[in-house]
């Protein structure tokens, strides 16, 4: 195997890794704020992506407003999910598993609605920098992929600052860690939970317009993204905001290097076996601190 090919596999692995990481970031954010694993995070991306597709293709909007609208619609979806469904379930005594099933049901519903109203075609969203590529040492990378990586890192840092520096972020953390205590200090805990979901929706919508140019937007993209994003978030450690990105990149690189060094047919087997081993050897995740095992 040539070094060129190995380098190429690292670049594509990085690209895919940030895709997984961006979804994982949303899952981890919602988990940090509410202790709920959101099985429709990938479908937030579908909502964002398909909104952008419809605005661009059918309404003829320019790119920037369409993308901004797509991200906002993603946030609105998160907001609605919490207010309309998660909150009533909490009132009726939902368990960890029932939240998982609830969001899984929402994932099915979103996918089914997109299939019904938009159809089963894949839509290629325009990338930032179009279809242009940069060539580094005979390895190619989409310019859009570089933007995806840069924006993902920016989102990660923003979230980190948001949670540690702003009073809203601190309130959201407090509401998650100690709801009773937060209530007594005057924090509106239900509102914080709603905002957490809205934030997850925003990150998901953003993921949609960023991954759309790479993997295209289609009705059943959500669950697959969620699975990989879930793996990324858990692998990195749910408690650490940087974890999801690190976990995602690890997963992406594992897959990609497995293809060039061993066999493309066994890519998933290799990635999943190593994933299990990492979890056993590092029970707090790659960047974990002393937290509950497995979140």
């Amino acid at each position: 195997m040539s070094p060129d090919l190995l380098f190429q596999s690292v670049l594509t692995g990085l690209t895919n890794g940030f895709v997984y990481g961006l979804i994982g970031l949303g899952i981890a954010s919602i988990f940090r704020g509410t202790r709920i694993i959101n099985a429709m995070q990938g479908d937030f991306a579908l909502i964002g992506g398909i909104t952008a597709v419809l605005l661009l293709e059918r309404q003829g909007w320019p790119m920037l407003p369409a993308f901004v609208a797509a991200v906002l619609i993603g946030g609105a979806a998160g907001w609605l999910l919490e207010v309309l469904l998660v909150r009533p379930l909490r009132r009726r005594g939902g368990t960890e598993d029932s939240y998982l099933l609830l969001t899984l049901g929402c994932a099915f519903a979103v996918s089914a609605l997109v299939l019904y109203f938009v159809g089963r075609d894949s839509h290629a969203l325009p990338g930032i920098g179009g279809e242009g590529i940069v060539v580094i040492a005979d390895a190619a990378m989409r310019i859009h992929a570089l933007w995806l990586i840069a924006i993902s890192l920016a989102v990660m840092l923003t979230l980190r600052l948001f949670y540690s520096r702003t009073s809203l972020g601190l309130s959201m953390m407090a509401a998650a860690l100690d709801p009773q205590g937060a209530l007594t200090t005057g924090i509106n805990v239900p509102l914080m939970r709603t905002l957490t979901f809205a934030l997850g929706g925003l990150v998901g919508g953003l993921a949609g317009i960023l991954v759309g140019p790479l993997i295209t937007v289609y009705f059943d993209m959500g669950l697959l993204l969620t699975l990989k994003g879930f793996a990324a978030a858990i692998l990195g450690g749910l408690a650490n905001p940087m974890g999801a990105i690190v976990g995602g990149v690890t997963l992406g690189l594992l897959e990609s290097i497995a293809i060039v060094t061993i066999s493309s047919g066994y890519k998933d087997v290799i990635a999943m076996v190593i994933l299990i081993i990492i979890m056993i050897v590092m029970p707090n995740g790659l960047l974990g601190r002393r937290t509950r095992k497995g979140g």
Binding site: D97, L104, C106, F108, F230, A231, L275, I276, M279, I280
Partner: protein, 319 residues
């Protein structure tokens, strides 16, 4: 209401249910009976998922693995090698239980979402291997020509006939499960679930117990898969993909993991409802998802929990 009636009424109810059960294949359409057979198969596999979750707190997304091993064992030994039916079913169970022990030992040290992810990873690994090892599994093409089950010259070759095979098996397993929960092992399980630290002090080897329960669950999955193969007489990889594992978990949670017969209700829901809704046309997938969401919100303890609560409320009101 006289108190003497309390004993006879449930008995009569059971008799009525039994009669209804026995009459169904003669009055229902062949297609409906076919769906009920699948509900029976899924109940068996789902039972394994349900008690792992209910008794040990283990989210199992790998039941499709054992369902597949059971089915492929039958395909390999009965269709390819022409060996008798019990060989296929037994080898599937032996293989699944051994696999569950080997894989379960390391991964059951994990807990929470780590464990869920690990079982999901197992499901994905198996899905790829079922496809790649096509000299055993037939890959995308699948394996056909699996014989029907025959006992004393009676062939279980129609939905109605298979109905009378799968449901007695399912009910027997439910009864055994009920007995297990009320045995010493069941007590240990509950101690492990509710007070893990105290259980450890009492000398219960929690990890070993978990692995044993995982093996038991795998056995149920394998048995369901073997019966499935003998019923459909054709196996291919799409029946053992990760979405099947998700539906097993779905039926367990929907049915309610704290009641013995919850999985049966869950299995009926996920087999019959989509079928019934498909008459609505292309929108049916959305309606099913909406029904699922409504069920989760309105019945947080699953169908089983809801029915039990209702029953108990009725009783206390009468007493």
């Amino acid at each position: 209401m006289p108190s003497t009636a309390a004993g006879t009424k449930p008995t009569l109810l059971w008799v009525a249910a039994l009669l209804l059960w026995a009459a169904l294949p003669f009055v229902a359409t062949r297609h409906m009976v076919d769906l009920l057979v699948f509900a029976g198969l899924y109940s068996i596999a789902g039972l394994g998922v349900a008690f792992l979750l209910g008794q040990c707190g283990i989210v199992n997304l790998a039941q499709s693995v054992f369902y597949g091993i059971g089915a492929y064992s039958v395909a390999w030994f009965c269709a390819r090698k022409g060996l008798p039916v019990p060989v296929g079913i037994a080898s599937g169970i032996v293989l699944s239980v051994a696999m569950a022990a080997v894989v379960g030992w390391p991964i059951l040290r994990l807990s929470g979402y780590f464990l869920a992810l690990a079982t999901l990873a197992l499901g994905i690994i198996a899905q790829v291997l079922f496809l790649e090892w096509d000299w055993i599994t037939g890959g995308t093409l699948g394996i056909g020509g699996i014989p029907f089950i025959e006992i004393l010259g009676f062939t279980f070759d129609t939905p109605a006939r298979f109905y009378f095979l799968v449901w007695p098996v399912a009910l027997l397993l439910l009864v055994l499960h009920h007995n297990l929960l009320h045995s010493r092992a069941g007590l240990a399980l509950r101690a492990m679930r509710d007070e893990p630290d105290a259980a450890a002090v009492l000398g219960i080897d929690i990890h070993k117990l978990k692995v044993q329960m995982f093996m038991l669950s795998a056995m149920l999955g394998s048995l369901a898969g073997s019966l499935f193969a003998h019923y459909v007489t054709f196996v291919s990889v799409d029946s053992f993909a990760i979405d099947r594992a998700i539906s097993f978990l779905l039926l367990a949670v929907l049915g309610g993991v704290y009641t013995v017969w919850g999985p049966v209700l869950g299995a009926l829901f996920i087999t019959i409802l989509p079928q019934w809704l498909s008459r609505l046309g292309d929108i049916h997938a959305f309606v099913f998802a909406a029904a699922l969401i409504a069920a989760v919100i309105l019945l947080p303890e699953g169908f089983g929990g809801a029915v039990t609560n209702w029953w108990q409320r009725r009783r206390t009101r009468r007493a």
